[in-house]
């Protein structure tokens, strides 16, 4: 074991911290101190300005190769950047579903042409990607999707409906699962398609999440013709009919490390401790300390996970345990904060907003009930 950072890693941290402090202050000042929520139309535009600042200086996707807009950072440096990012109070990444969910699958399954055509524009926040998996009748039971892709000369014809598409109303592209073999059932016969949302026949309707922001959308496909060259390098990620395998790789990123690194929870835990200390003898200090420990344990667990990944291991079913931990952790952190705030908890603010968002954690990325099934069957080996 060696739980110290190297001189290079310390230098990387210092560079990230300095950059974030300067540029966050500038960006905030441009928007009158506090920009609007990234899940509203105006706020999203403000957040895109932030994303483009990140890209301009190579911070949008630090672990990517330089040619795709990153800075070839190691996994360790990525982790350090995330810590510094959230410690500095930087905003949620409105590009996250592209950079942290789709991109790992583009690296794993995409052709060189797709990688060249998609990744850099994604990092630059020129193309904005949203996820088109869930349907009105396919949530936890994702393999029951019925949206169809019919093969025609030069492309695909899409029909059906996707929903719960985060920031779909503000994005430019969708990555989705479509049934391309009409005779298929369940996991077979699905294709993973990349779809520009301005394709004729595609309609997007935004609607309010629990907190009222227009963070959700439903996406309708009505005889929409998706040309093979609508996305550089081709619109199918992986092979046609092999979409389930690609989707499961994306889900691994969603549940595991990349989407929800410890940095954001550590930052919330530090804010919680500050709130608890400021409120004095509330009788809640012990609960605040417990929540803080759970956040710190996530950090320690992640250091162990990254040690394995850095040695070449592939993320496995353990990602289900990780997802259970961070999602329940987020609820716990905010719950204690609301109790500390007492009657003030109902006032609109970062804690009440964060509380509502935290409650989505046990639902999205595969409900925690599904995660418990996966953990029991594939980590513990219980019978199916």
């Amino acid at each position: 074991m060696d739980l110290t950072w190297s001189g290079d890693e310390d230098a990387f941290r210092a560079e990230a911290r300095a950059w974030l402090n300067v540029h966050l202050a500038e960006w905030r000042a441009e928007h009158g101190g506090e920009p609007a929520s990234g899940d509203t139309r105006d706020g999203f535009a403000q957040h895109l300005e932030w994303e483009r600042r990140l890209f301009a200086d190579g911070w949008a996707a630090v672990s990517w190769p330089e040619q795709h807009g990153g800075r070839d950072a190691t996994l360790w440096e990525w982790l350090i950047f995330e810590e510094e990012y959230y410690r500095a109070g930087a905003p949620p990444r409105v590009t996250q579903n592209g950079i942290f969910l789709l991109a790992p699958s583009i690296y794993e399954f995409g052709s060189p042409e797709q990688q060249a055509g998609i990744l850099r524009r994604m990092a630059a926040a020129e193309d904005l990607w949203c996820q088109g998996w869930s349907e009105p009748n396919a949530g936890s039971d994702l393999a029951s999707v019925t949206s169809r892709a019919r093969r025609v000369d030069g492309g695909w014809v899409l029909d059906g409906q996707k929903t719960w598409t985060t920031r779909g109303a503000f994005c430019t592209h969708l990555f989705g699962l479509f049934r391309s073999d009409p005779a298929s059932v369940r996991h077979k016969g699905l294709s993973y398609l990349l779809v520009p949302l301005d394709t004729p026949g595609v309609t997007v309707r935004g609607f309010g999440r629990l907190d009222g922001d227009e963070g959700f959308a439903e996406v309708f496909f009505d005889e929409a013709f998706l040309a093979d060259d609508a996305v550089a390098g081709g619109v199918v990620l992986g092979e046609p009919e092999q979409g389930w395998a690609v989707a499961m790789a994306t889900a691994g990123s969603e549940r595991g490390l990349t989407l929800r690194s410890p940095g954001r929870f550590l930052a919330t835990a530090e804010r919680l401790i500050a709130l608890a200390n400021e409120r004095g003898d509330t009788g809640l200090q012990r609960r605040a300390a417990t929540a803080w420990m759970h956040a710190d344990a996530y950090q320690q667990h992640t250091l162990a996970t990254v040690t394995k990944l850095a040695a070449g291991a592939k993320p496995g079913a353990e990602a289900s345990l990780t997802k259970l931990w961070w999602s329940e952790l987020d609820v716990e952190l905010h719950r204690v904060a609301l109790d500390l705030l007492g009657p003030d908890a109902e006032v609109e603010g970062p804690w009440s907003k964060g509380w509502q968002f935290a409650l989505s954690g046990p639902i999205y990325a595969g409900t925690n009930e599904i995660q418990r099934n996966i953990a029991a069957e594939r980590v513990l080996g219980l019978p199916r």
């Binding site: 200090q285 803080w292 420990m293 162990a304 394995k308 931990w325 513990l380």
Partner: protein, 320 residues
């Protein structure tokens, strides 16, 4: 940064595991429940001693292995996994760095007023005020205590303060308490692992409604919760091992976090393990109770969850 055991640490741990699987069977633990005072069988203890386990933390020049807590903690997890009745935390983790090699079996009141293996030990490591002292067993009156886990072989001690003082330095006492809490946290992780493994096996075999009960979601979710608690307590314990080995400024906070989380995790696992075993778990015939009762005891010795959580809160700046 490298958060993993080294090849040497894994090899050492696995060798200890193999030994314990052979020599610290449930039958050996059960024998400890009934052996007369002062007559705890030392077969497995002597084997551990021969492997060097008891002197991991003693410098090589003094006849030990000269290794640190990151070696010993994974071994103590293994000791927990078999519910080893002998006072291995007191001896190998707490006394060895203070007393050196060749001190035999050591019992101590540092973990609390109920002293495990009090009458079986060769020496006693006792505290009064800021004084730590080695006291001859015969200089102390030992009143046996009937505990829920009779494998604790516990006693209450009365002594007159005579003995060989080791130190009057509060920092030495603090360090000894931190080592004890860390070692006990490791034992609790091992106990949790043992109960989880037992229950996964049982739930995979036991049939009701024509199928293994482990195929039912209600049972799966209990065991997933148990696995979750353990999965995230273990890194906290390993990190604390590093913090003690390197005496980092956050040592006390890290040890307390480890003990609080390991105590919680083992109790969560124990509760789910008992529930998923059903009535067979609620007997002294099934082995589960050996681990369950040890868990209840260890979760509240060397400081309970409240004590250690308060210590973390204080380290984070709370005015308590």
């Amino acid at each position: 940064m490298r958060f993993a055991l080294s090849d040497d640490q894994v090899a050492f741990r696995d060798a200890v595991r193999e030994l314990l699987d052979k020599e610290a069977t449930p039958a050996v633990v059960r024998a400890a429940w009934t052996a007369p005072e002062g007559e705890l069988d030392r077969g497995v203890w002597d084997s551990l001693d021969a492997m060097g386990v008891l002197t991991v933390l003693v410098p090589e020049a003094e006849g030990g292995l000269g290794l640190d807590e990151t070696f010993l903690v994974p071994i103590l997890e293994e000791a927990g996994r078999v519910a080893l009745p002998h006072p291995i935390v007191e001896t190998a983790m707490v006394a060895a760095p203070l007393l050196g090699a060749g001190v035999g079996m050591v019992a101590s009141d540092l973990g609390g007023p109920i002293v495990p293996c009090a009458a079986d030990a060769d020496q006693l490591l006792l505290r009064w005020g800021h004084t730590l002292a080695v006291v001859d067993r015969d200089a102390v009156a030992i009143a046996p205590v009937a505990t829920v886990d009779a494998g604790r072989r516990a006693g209450r001690l009365t002594h007159d303060g005579t003995g060989t003082p080791l130190s009057d330095d509060p920092a030495v006492v603090e360090r000894a308490l931190d080592r004890g809490a860390l070692g006990t946290a490791a034992m609790l992780v091992g106990l949790g692992q043992a109960m989880l493994d037992l229950t996964v096996n049982y739930a995979s075999e036991r049939q009701q409604f024509g199928q293994p009960i482990g195929s039912f979601q209600a049972v799966k979710h209990h065991l997933a919760d148990a696995a979750l608690a353990l999965e995230f307590a273990r890194p906290a314990v390993w990190r604390a091992a590093w913090s003690v080995a390197h005496d980092v400024p956050t040592r006390a906070r890290d040890v307390s976090m480890a003990k609080a989380m390991a105590s919680d995790a083992a109790e969560v696992v124990g509760r789910q393990a008992l529930q998923c075993h059903g009535a067979i778990g609620y007997t002294v015939e099934a082995d589960l109770h050996l681990y369950l009762k040890r868990t209840w005891a260890l979760a509240r010795t060397w400081g309970d969850v409240a004590h250690h959580t308060d210590r973390v809160a204080a380290a984070l700046g709370a005015a308590l």
